[in-house]
């Protein structure tokens, strides 16, 4: 049964109960990267095995902050311009996945912090602004659940999503603007990456695998939102 929403694509294999190829590839890539990071990447002489947390912490931050949140901002602004419900579904889906990735950032960061700093958490600018950003996106999802009228929900959440994402450049710059315990970027900086070749390649592969996982999850999440809206439309018709 085709989805009846305007512009909606046919349901993907996963939605029809089959296998989603992109998801399988993304999961295999993530599994491969984890094996490489844990078994085939050298242990940092100073920081020990806990340094390997970087291979999941930083890529999750890159995807959550730059890719997922960036997509929320772009699709929200585009929605305010074009009023296309597909853009609202993309923003909603991307925001939810951003919360997932940022939850991993906020959960794994303290584990590394305990080993490197001797404390789970410090209220410095990077950590605090990332936590606030997570709260903003959770509030975005709560806001969506609280408004029943679709157009008002899409418009208000587009404004909130666009404004919340303004925090991202600030979060990136906190390590330069403030005294902070958090390390400066090892890769996303103007100079050469401060990492050995093998570690850098694991980091790069991990980032690519996480981007792939983001794409696969986003695809599934948008398809679900499309199905949900089609069912709601069918019920109200």
């Amino acid at each position: 049964m085709a989805v009846s929403l305007p512009g909606a694509a046919p349901a993907p294999p996963a939605a029809r109960g089959g296998v989603d190829g992109l998801l399988i590839v993304a999961l295999l890539a993530c599994a491969g990267v984890i094996v490489r990071a844990l078994a085939f990447t050298p242990v940092d002489a100073m920081q020990g095995p806990a340094q390997k947390i970087l291979y999941i912490h930083a890529p999750a931050a890159i995807v959550g902050l730059y890719f997922a949140s960036g997509l929320v901002a772009i699709s929200s602004l585009m929605y305010l311009w074009l009023k296309d419900p597909r853009l609202d579904r993309i923003a909603e889906s991307s925001a939810e996945i951003a919360v997932v990735f940022l939850s991993i950032v906020l959960a794994t960061g303290p584990l590394w912090g305990k080993t490197a700093w001797g404390t789970w958490w410090v209220w410095d600018a990077r950590l605090t602004s990332t936590l606030f950003f997570w709260f903003l996106f959770v509030a975005y999802l709560v806001l969506r659940g609280a408004i029943e009228e679709p157009q008002a929900r899409a418009r208000l959440s587009a404004v909130m999503g666009g404004l919340a994402t303004l925090l991202v450049p600030f979060i990136h710059l906190t390590v330069y603007l403030f005294r902070t315990m958090h390390p400066t970027p090892v890769v996303l900086k103007p100079s050469a990456p401060s990492m050995s070749g093998q570690m850098l390649s694991t980091f790069g592969m991990s980032t690519m695998a996480f981007i792939l996982l983001f794409a696969a999850l986003l695809r599934l999440r948008v398809r679900w939102a499309t199905l949900r809206d089609a069912n709601l439309e069918r019920q109200s018709a």
Binding site: A15, G17, G48, I104, R179
Partner: protein, 72 residues
């Protein structure tokens, strides 16, 4: 910066608490593999949980779609 540097110096020079994570093994990197394992386990658990939630949502909507089609 001074505060950070001095506290880091203190943590290196002062006798280390056996409860702290940065206690080093003689001649090797710190023995903090449990923190690494916990971080990877948490990340995998969060991804797996979200994936299950997504697949269950899709299955529910598909069932709802079938029901509404059958009702017609």
């Amino acid at each position: 910066m001074m505060t950070t540097t001095s506290s880091m110096t203190t943590s290196v020079l002062a006798p280390q608490d056996s409860g702290a994570a940065y206690v080093t093994r003689p001649g090797g990197p710190p023995d903090n593999g449990a923190y690494r394992t916990a971080a990877y386990a948490i990340a995998i658990a969060i991804y797996a949980l979200y994936l299950v939630i997504l697949l269950r949502r899709i299955a529910r909507e598909r069932a709802r779609e079938r029901d509404s089609v059958a009702a017609r």
